[in-house]
Subunit: 111 residues, 2 copies
Amino acid sequence: MNTSFNHHSKDEVNVSEIDDTEITGDVIKVSAKSRSTAVAGAIAGVIRDHRYAEVQAIGAGAVNQAVKALAIARGYLERDEIDIVFTPYFTEVVIDDQERTAVRFKVEIRA
Amino acid sequence: MNTSFNHHSKDEVNVSEIDDTEITGDVIKVSAKSRSTAVAGAIAGVIRDHRYAEVQAIGAGAVNQAVKALAIARGYLERDEIDIVFTPYFTEVVIDDQERTAVRFKVEIRA
């Protein structure tokens, strides 16, 4: 999987390295197997390009990896003097014909 | 355990109901066993009183409960037209003579 947003990211992320992580537009789908540093690089890349990102996680393991990635991404973006804040919300998603409750994090630049 | 901040909270929280949740000043310590709605009430109460709160979690189960509580607390505080945002960071804590990495969430009112 190749995405265009990484080509000028300072925190180079080889997306294929991010196990089970999917990136569609500005939505980064995190799994319990996702590496938090790789996801953090993806978040930083999307924020630099779009000034906005969403991170989606289903289940405690995925939520934990997402939160770690958000904390690490803050460090990456501080170097660029970008200060990000988050708002979590619940959303229903359908996976394999089953409805699941996902946690979504809106990632925004602090006003 | 009784804390003073709940006495005029709209989302009445009996803190003793919050299994394994500890509240010290504006720091709310969440465990994997914490009930997310009760923690959300505690966050809303601390925010109303102090305009600032910190939520601490150690381990994936606790982080997940903390994130769910943050999402629910947003709903409680929206009724008061208070819009909260979060920034997670890592901190080292010592528990039973062992160093553990905790996730802390700063909870602030959006500027």
